[in-house]
Every structure is written in C-alpha cells, then in structure tokens.
C-alpha cells in the first residue's frame, strides 16, 4: 500500500465532501428568503441519500466488473462485498479501495445536488428526493462507469475527463435542463424581481467550493504526485482567469463588477478546468478559464431569451462550462495529444453523455411528476416552500425575538395526547398537513 497516496486521497475525499455544503450556501444565498432553507436542503439531502445508495449498489454499478460493452458495472460489490481494509486498487503500490470508494462517493453526492439550483423555489421536497434517488441510480452510476472504470466505453475511447467534465458537469447541467422542462417556470419568472437574498452566503459557498475543488481535481490523480500538483495549479490558474473573464464581460455589458459575477466566474472556471487535469499547461489553463468566464457570463442570459427557468443557471454555468472545458482540452492537450482526433473523441464523450442524460433525466422527471407530482402547490410556492415542506423559516426578522411569533406549545405535545382547543392552540402556527 502507498501511504502517501492513501493519505492524499482520504484528505481529498474530505475536501470534496465540503463542496456539497459549499454548493448549498452558493445556491442558498441566491434564492429569496422564503425558500432559502429548501435550497440548502436540496443539496444537503444528497449527502444522505447518495451515501446509502452507494453502499447498497452504487459503488458496484459504477466501479464493479464490467457487464459488457463498457456500459455498467455488475452487482459483485453490493454492500461493499469482497472489499476489506486490505483490498487495494491496482497492485501492491495501490491505495485501499475504501479510500477510492469514499472519494468517488463524494462525486456521486455533489452531482445530483448541482441540479437543484435549476429547480429553486418550486419543487416538492419529497419529489426532489425521489428524483435524485432515481437519477443517480440510472444516470450517474452508469455514466461514471463509462468515463472512469478501466473497461468503460468512453475510458477506452481515450476521452480525457480527468475529474468529471462529462460525468459530473455536463451530466448535471443537461439533467437539470430536462428537469426544468418537466417542472416548468417559477410563478413570476421574468416578471417579478427575484433578487438573491444573501450575496455574502453566495461568496462563502464559492470559497468553500473553490477550496474543496482542489480535492476534486488534484485528488482525481489518486496519487500524491506531479500530476496532482500540476492539476492543483491549473485549477487555481483557470479559476482566477475565469473570474476576471466574467467580470470583464459584465463590466462592458452591464456597467458593474458584481459580487455575484465574481463568484459565478470562479465557479465557471472550476467547472471548465475539471476535465483537463494535467493534460494542459498553464497557458492552456489560462485560456480555458478566460473563455469559460466570458462565455458562461453570456450564456446565463439565454434562459430569458429561450424561456426556460433554469433558476440559478445550472445550464449556463455547468453545462456550458463543462462543454467548453471538455472540448478545449481536446485542442490544448500537451504532449502531441491535442488535435482534431482528440477533439473528435472529446465531442463524442460530451454529446453521448448529453444525449443519454437528457433523455433519461426527462423520463425520470416525468415519472416523478406523473406519480407523486414534482411541483409544489401554487400557494405554497408563493408563500414560500420553507414553511410548507420543512416547517421552518431561515431567519427570525422580528426585532424583539419571539414576542410576535409565539413558539407553539402544541408542537411539543407528547405523542398521543389529544389536541386541546385553547388560547395557546390558537396562537400556535397552524400545524397543517405537510405535503412534502
């Protein structure tokens, strides 16, 4: 066992884990106050759901032995069967499979969470939970197998996807678009002002994402080596450049250097450099960053022109940034790899994931919508889904604490005791049936 590599991958796994709460803040700050908690929860719940699925069958479907044609893993490792502390990846110099499986689990957690931004303010929480359960099982686990398992068909095609341009970002971006087309627009889209309620939260989330992304990208080397160091440097270079690219476009087009633009540009750069790994040099990383920043800054306006309510720009940032990064590495890869042939391979990778993910995501979203209903009730959406699905509100804005909002003794009633009508009961928030 290689101790240094093992330590690096375990730490990287923890770094990537932090990205999901980071994403929750990034998205959470961008929505209005009335649905801030729901936005946080849409990401956070993935840490629960996907972790359980991963143990049950997810790891096996993604990284089990190929069942044929490089499309899916077998069920040989369900419940981590056959894997112990001494089981290593590769030969004697490998790392424990548990370290690899933990690291890969964090990717599976954040990918469905990325889609949540597209459905802000209006999705039923139970429907969302069901949707991502189905989505990781039928879309993410197979696609991860295609791209990262040694027998996966895109892996064998020599598509460069170091850390997840196709499997994570294109996959989530196009999946989000499919879900939006099923769920529909927010009430008041293009009409009501939908300003972010807390840009400081967005900035905090961006910082956590940027920090965790070193684990995401450099950790994908699965070894503490030069490729990891090179990837870490490329990550920083592309992200810095992308922030500047976004801000420059915004200053020219809209006349201001916005905080949200700086945060969005950084995330666009992180997305775009993800597939490259150490395959590009520093100038390649700079170029990828600037292009991603400027193009994504333009692309986020498309939803208004085309009329799909991708609320927090999952398509504009993750799909567009993922495609830019995946294609550009085909041209910019060093060592004689970059060129028309590699660009062709990258395009096959990008478009096959897009086609599969869009189709299946749309079918799954339809399935959820036809069975339990994907969309929150209209009055819940207008008054805010935090109260409807979580029985909480994000902030207490009353200056004098609880004086005007009575904490409800009724809610603390021991189970089984009958409700009593009385003044206390009347003062309590209506304990209406939560259709979450």
């Amino acid at each position: 066992m290689n101790g240094a590599d093992t330590a690096f991958v375990l730490i990287s796994a923890a770094l990537v884990m932090l990205m999901t709460p980071g994403l929750a803040f990034f998205y959470g700050g961008m929505v209005r106050v009335k649905s801030a908690l729901n936005m946080l929860m849409m990401s956070f719940i993935s840490l629960g759901i996907v972790t359980v699925l991963w143990v049950l069958f997810g790891y096996s479907l993604a990284f089990g032995d190929d069942v044929g044609a490089g499309l899916l893993g077998d069920l040989g490792h369900i419940g981590f069967k056959g894997i112990g502390p001494e089981t290593l990846t590769g030969g004697k110099e490998g790392i424990p499979v548990f370290a690899f499986a933990l690291f890969q689990l964090m990717f599976a957690v954040i990918t469905p969470a990325l889609m949540s931004g597209a459905l802000a303010d209006r999705a039923k929480f139970s429907a969302w939970a069901l949707f991502i359960t189905l989505w990781v099982s039928v879309v993410y686990f197979p696609v991860a197998h295609w791209v990262w398992q040694a027998d996966g068909w895109l892996f064998k095609l020599k598509v460069i996807d170091f850390a997840g341009g196709t499997a994570v970002h294109i996959n989530a971006g196009i999946g989000a678009l499919a879900a939006v087309l099923v769920v529909g627009k927010r009430i008041g889209f293009k009409k009501d002002p939908m300003r972010p309620h807390s840009l400081p939260l967005v900035m905090l989330g961006t910082g956590l994402l940027w920090f965790g992304w070193f684990g995401f990208n450099a950790g994908s080397a699965l070894a503490a080596n030069g490729a990891a160091a090179n990837m870490a440097m490329n990550t920083q270079v592309a992200t810095g450049a992308a922030m500047l690219g976004w801000l420059a476009y915004e200053r020219i087009r809209h006349g201001a250097f916005t905080t949200l633009g700086a945060a969005s540009g950084a995330v666009a750069g992180l997305v775009a450099i993800t597939p490259s790994g150490a395959a590009v040099n520093a100038f390649g990383a700079l170029l990828i960053g600037v292009v991603a920043g400027a193009v994504c800054s333009w692309a986020v306006g498309l939803k208004f022109k085309l009329g799909f309510d991708d609320s927090l720009d999952v398509v504009g940032v993750h799909l567009v940034g993922g495609v830019i990064g995946t294609l550009l590495v085909g041209l910019l890869a060093t060592g004689g790899v970059g060129g028309a042939t590699q660009l062709g391979r990258q395009a096959v990778g990008a478009f096959s994931v897009m086609a599969y993910s869009f189709t299946v995501s749309w079918l799954l979203a339809k399935l959820v919508d036809k069975t339990i209903g994907f969309r929150a009730a209209e009055d819940d959406e207008i008054s805010g889904i935090d109260q409807a699905f979580h029985a909480e509100t994000a902030y207490d804005h009353t200056g004098v604490g609880a004086a005007t909002r009575t904490a409800a003794p009724a809610l603390h009633r021991p189970p089984g005791t009958p409700e009593q009508a009385g003044p206390e009961q009347a003062a309590a928030p209506k304990n209406k049936k939560v259709d979450a």
Partner: protein, 112 residues
C-alpha cells in the same frame, strides 16, 4: 398636541436627534422606512438580469409635541435634514387627540 412625522435621509438621523434633544424634545421614535418621491430608484444587476429598485431606504422620525412647539420643532428638523439634493424627504404635522404615558397613566401634555 401635535404629531410631527418626518421622512428623512437615514444618514441625517443622528444630527436631527441631537438638535431635537438640544431643543428640549424629551423622546422620539425612529423607524426604517422605504418609499419614493421625486427621487428615482436605482438599477441592480444579478447575472445580467437588471432589476429596477423603486423604493429607497428612508428613516421615519415621529415626535409628539405641544401645539406651541410644533412650528419650531419642524424648523429644527428641516434645517438638519436639508442637503439640498433630491430625496431629502418630507415633514408633516397632524393634531393628536390624546396621549397616555403607559407607566403612570398620565394624560395629555403631562404625558409628553
């Protein structure tokens, strides 16, 4: 008795309060308000989506005074609130039927 209500620029509140204290006003209420008059709002940009913000932040000062003091108090407020630029606000005076001091139950001018 009169109720004087002043809508002013928030950054003028401290000076107004000090001037009123010097004049002899015993108490007042300040609250945050938003509104518009001749001053226009501003535009905010979020990822390229531009929103017009029509309501601007203002401070509302409320003072209860005896009838004879009303004109002078208005003058003090206006003098301190004035910057000469658009959006300085408004001051108005309305008659008050009665005032009660909650702690003692005193009524009328004694309660001021």
């Amino acid at each position: 008795m009169k109720l004087i209500t002043a809508i002013v620029k928030p950054f003028r509140v401290d000076e107004i309060r000090e001037a009123l204290q010097t004049f002899g006003v015993q108490g007042l209420t300040v609250s945050e308000a938003s509104g518009y008059g001749r001053q226009r709002g501003h535009t905010e940009v979020y990822r390229g989506a531009e929103y017009r913000v029509d309501l601007l932040p203002k401070a509302r000062i409320e003072v209860l005074v005896e009838d004879d003091d009303a004109e002078d108090v208005v003058d003090v407020i206006v003098k301190k609130a004035q910057t000469g630029k658009i959006g300085d606000g408004k001051v108005w005076v309305v008659p008050v039927e009665t005032v009660v001091r909650v702690r003692t139950g005193e009524r009328g001018p004694d309660a001021l």
